[in-house]
Symmetry: C2
Subunit: 238 residues, 2 copies
DNA sequence: CCAAAAGTGTTCGCGGTACACCCATGC
DNA sequence: GCATGGGTGTACCGCGAACACTTTTGG
């Protein structure tokens, strides 16, 4: 066995090889008639120049969700969004260079809050429609698929759709949201009946402005009431 | 900066500190009238002697699910079970010694296949009822809670309950399974009507033996038919 | 013959679904 | 006044829920 001196400061020696641990974030936003995902351009190899999910390595003493929020803020400026762990991707060869295990998160954002119009390459970030994604780095396409599947499943029994809308919204906007996510048309009267019967979406006395037709009433989601009902066993369902 | 010589073989040097990555498995089994979880006694510090989930570190070139299956086989002898990724636990201080990120899996086993009766400390493994778990190492109690919550949620819209039963089962057994998992009683006639209407549980010409009352007919789950239906958009629901 | 669990139908009410027209507003 | 979406009610049907007695078998 060769001689052994301690490693220089800033280097770390382990008995066993360790994978690197990263987080990646699928940020979904609702546009007029489709879902979009927020991508950034990679500035470094591997996959330099390719589109990728915002993400990065987890800090030494940093929680996973904290790392995801930090990366989101650093790379896209997004803060304070719905964020939930999605799945952990760890196939040995998902990164060509070395073993990286990635804990994926998905976030739901109000597209209006982050006007990086598709062209804007400002911070190298942009919204891309799910229906025509560019070539993506690593296994990021699969991660996006998983996020969309999760959203599709969860939107029906949890009130997460509201995370994609502004605080005040019309019932037509809400209906479009479900139609886009579930990929099927819904009957207007039945949808309204159903939503209003839950008594969790309550009307405000405000109306739409700046539309060139009859202005629709604005509603808001009553999260406090929802939280209270959940404690008593209530189950949201669309 | 101090002098630097290469580390001895078997040691690994990284530019940045890296967490260790482990997998932990929550194996759930259905007993006569409750769910049980498979625990092992830890032979090493930290938490030496405490009960813990089977699990261990992920190999250098090993996939996450592969690691989970390997640990299960090594520590409990279980192979070939339903196994699904659950959640990744990564709070910085969940292990008192060093940073460990754990990718948790949950498995559903036919208790009858693994007769480690509660006393048997054979390989230091034993089944413990969820209602009175011993003190557990690390955050393993929280991991078990997450697994049970997942099972409770998923059993209603995916046919995973069958993983807990032998290949041939009576409708009463199936009903008990749902009652135990969902923690509420079900009406016998309505349950049978509902299950049989799905046309996925089909009767065999076998009957129970060794019971001291009228023998019940045995049924089996038609997984092939289920897989076919799913491809056409069918959704299982109880 | 007794204990124990298997097996079997009907009624009722609610909630999902299908479906079409008038209203308000901006231009 | 016309184009554009906003807003509203009713009839039907299927499914979930409630509910009790007869049958079979082993001991």
């Amino acid at each position: 066995m060769s001689a052994w001196t301690p490693p220089p400061p800033g280097r770390h020696v382990y008995e066993y090889p360790r994978p690197a641990v990263a987080v990646d974030c699928v940020v979904l936003g609702l546009d007029t008639d489709d879902l979009k995902v927020l991508l950034i351009r990679r500035g470094v190899d591997p996959w330099k120049g390719a589109w990728a999910l915002p993400g990065g390595f987890v800090g030494e003493r940093e929680g996973l969700e904290a790392a995801a929020r930090r990366e989101l803020a650093e790379e896209t400026g997004i803060g304070e969004v719905f964020l939930e762990q999605l799945y952990t991707f760890g196939e040995p060869d998902r990164d060509p260079r070395h073993r990286v295990i990635s804990v994926a998160y998905y976030a739901l954002a109000k597209l209006s809050d982050f006007k990086l119009t598709a062209g804007t390459d400002a911070a190298g970030a942009g919204w891309h429609p799910l229906s025509k994604l560019p070539a993506l780095a690593f296994d990021h396409a699969a991660i996006i698929d998983a996020a969309v599947a999760r959203l599709r499943g969860k939107v029906r029994y949890a009130p997460i759709g509201f995370e994609l809308l502004p605080p005040r919204f019309t019932l037509t906007q809400l209906q479009r949201l479900y139609e886009i996510i579930l990929e099927r048309e819904l009957d207007k009267r039945n949808f309204r009946k159903k939503i209003l019967s839950l008594d969790l979406v309550i009307e405000t006395d405000e109306k739409q402005t700046g539309v060139r037709h009859r202005a629709a009433r604005l509603y808001r989601f009553d999260r406090k009431k929802y939280d209270r009902l959940v404690k008593h066993g209530f189950e949201f369902a669309i």
